[in-house]
């Protein structure tokens, strides 16, 4: 699998199904290790109660941290949280935005200590649209998909570009111009003491910029110089200007002459023995930049800020765009180990120590109700719509279900709620008068938290109390229900017959089986 995506909403149309795995909705209890990388793509759910919503959002960072502590060294791409539903009842209600910002800040912080993390700013996509364009309420109510399906194609393109950016991001060498790039002013005119580096602004801005570049050099990025100057003037400035942070020894190579810069850069590539496509060229002069873009399109040429105080933002953009390091060296591994220890501590401090306590914290309430005139139409609808968790895919109408009830079938439906809300009726089981489970189905919305096992086990216990000793069941494969192929095996049923068309099971109900106490299950009779 290429990606496994942790999500809390319907996003399958955005990423497709080929080689992509999805978590259950807001479910982190399953973390497959057969994937190349993970993606974290949570979005702000719709909840008009901003207090509740803020509480929910504030749990995301704990969940992310917990996931992080389980994924070893594989890559995890985090898409930032964006609130697509900007409904604000009170003008001063900034609670949601604050919790969203907090999540993004914390996630970004994690990327600083974890080289296998990558933060993708989702707002760079959403900011292109108005909120009317972003949300299509019709599709939201049908599918729980927030982002309008009209934007699916745009999203795919945007994400492909992000993937390409990440893949092509590891540049090796930064080639710098000197005058008005590494310092303010022109060395040939202003002299060694006259150029702006250190002291008051703008010299201060160039000083900080050089300090930042020095860090880059210490982290393995090769620095080089390409400048139209007299080489001796520059060598003297490096040596004699006391505020100069970057000196001769920090540059692996330089071309300081009056030759055109395209030729110089080609020579630098040869001298350093690296490809032009792993070089980034920074120059304040737009004409020089245009020349390199034209002559050497493989070299990356970012725009240079017009004002020196913008240099720090420019630096962080440079790092983010070209010099994030992903290769895992021994030293990185050490850092990862350290991080892992930290993550464990964080997890211990936070609400969930492990998956079980995570599920416990959800306060899952399961209510089982016999089919009746209030829910029969919903049950019929589910038999029509449910594909993935549907053991025999028998489609039924309301009339047919009413007939079965009249014939003495036991039909129950399940409603699931947790501390974040009520999912309503999301599953059903059909048992014939001769105690055969003809069908069992559950909406994929609630899967992945062990609810399916708990539900069936509860029913089996109930039947046992009613004096039923033998039960049979059936699985019929469909193109879509393969994830349930061994569901009855998992519940301890015996396979009695198997053919291409179905699998038949039986089970003796000898005693009640205890169910994890963190599911609060009730039966309405």
């Amino acid at each position: 699998m290429r990606y496994f995506i942790f999500r809390n909403q319907t996003i399958e149309p955005l990423f497709g199904e080929d080689g992509i795995g999805y978590s259950g909705y807001d479910d982190i209890s399953v973390i497959p290790d057969t994937t190349e990388r993970y993606i974290w793509f949570y979005q702000v759910p719709f909840n008009i109660n901003s207090q509740q919503l803020a509480e929910e959002i504030s749990t995301y960072i704990d969940k992310l941290t917990l996931v992080l502590s389980h994924i070893e060294n594989k890559e995890l791409w985090i898409l930032s949280l964006v609130n697509l539903f900007p409904i604000q009842l009170a003008g001063n209600d900034t609670q949601i935005n604050e919790t969203v910002t907090l999540f993004n800040t914390e996630a970004l912080k994690l990327t600083k200590t974890n080289k296998n993390l990558r933060f993708i700013d989702f707002s760079s996509f959403t900011s292109q649209y108005t909120s009317q364009e972003l949300i299509n309420w019709k599709f939201y109510f049908i599918s729980q998909m927030q982002l309008s399906t009209k934007l699916t194609k745009d999203f795919k393109l945007w994400f492909m570009r992000k993937e390409a950016e990440i893949a092509g991001k590891r540049k090796k060498c930064l080639i710098l111009d000197l005058d008005n790039t590494l310092w303010g002013g022109i060395l040939g005119e202003d002299g060694i003491a006259g150029i702006q580096i250190g002291g008051d602004y703008p010299g201060k801005a160039f000083y900080y910029w050089q300090l930042a570049l020095l860090e880059l050099q210490k982290n393995g990025v090769i620095l080089a110089v390409c400048s139209k100057n007299n080489e001796n003037d520059v060598l003297e400035a490096w040596e004699k200007n006391p505020f100069m942070v970057l000196k001769k020894e920090h540059f692996s190579a330089w071309r300081i002459n009056w030759q055109d810069k395209a030729t110089n850069i080609q020579e630098l590539a040869k001298e350093l023995n690296i490809g032009l496509d792993s070089m980034v060229f920074v120059d304040d002069n737009p004409t020089e930049r245009a020349l390199i873009k034209e002559m050497l399109p493989m070299v990356c040429v970012p725009d240079f800020p017009l004002r020196p105080y913008e240099l720090m933002n420019f630096f962080s953009q440079l790092v983010n765009d070209y010099f994030r390091i992903y290769t895992i060296t021994d030293e990185d591994r050490q850092k990862t180990e350290q991080y892992k220890a930290n993550a464990k501590r964080t997890a211990e401090r936070s609400k969930f120590i492990d998956m079980e306590s995570y599920i416990k914290s959800l306060n899952i309430n399961i209510i089982i109700t016999p089919a009746n005139s209030f829910n029969v139409s919903r049950i019929a609808q589910m038999t029509q719509k449910t594909n993935q968790f549907n053991l025999t895919t028998i489609r039924l109408t309301e009339q047919e279900i009413n007939q079965q009830l009249a014939d003495g079938w036991k039909i129950y439906c399940i409603s699931v709620s947790d501390k974040f809300g009520d999912n309503g009726i999301t599953g059903a089981i059909f048992i014939t008068p001769s105690n055969h489970i003809e069908n069992l189905l559950l909406s994929c919305r609630i899967l992945g938290k062990g609810i399916e096992e708990a539900f069936v086990q509860y029913i089996l216990n109930y039947l046992h109390r009613e004096g039923i000793k033998q039960i049979t069941a059936e699985y019929r494969p469909s193109p879509k229900n393969s994830q349930t192929a061994d569901f009855y095996e998992r519940l301890g049923f015996n396979l009695s017959e198997e053919s291409i068309n179905n699998k038949l099971y039986n089970k003796t109900l000898e005693q009640e089986v205890s169910i994890k106490n963190y599911y609060n299950i009730k039966m309405n009779n």
Partner: protein
């Protein structure tokens, strides 16, 4: 129009063999998620707005053709 609908379906569902008798149960790729993409494509193509109950009824090619014909009248 029928042909155009089938073409869109082939494209969105990535299924080669679709004809007027195809149904949601007979096509492996026609799941609820692709169904949404299909609805969205059909809405754009025929410049119509499909209502949720119609979307739920669109379980066969024939039904889709019927619904869109009705819409266009």
């Amino acid at each position: 129009m029928k042909q155009r609908i089938i073409e869109i379906m082939k494209d969105v569902l990535e299924e080669q063999n679709i004809d007027i008798n195809s149904t949601q149960d007979s096509l492996e790729n026609w799941n609820s998620l692709r169904h949404l993409n299909l609805v969205s494509e059909l809405e754009d193509e025929f410049d119509i707005e499909l209502e949720p109950d119609e979307i739920a009824e669109m379980k066969s090619v024939q039904k889709i053709v019927d619904i869109i014909k009705q819409k266009n009248n």
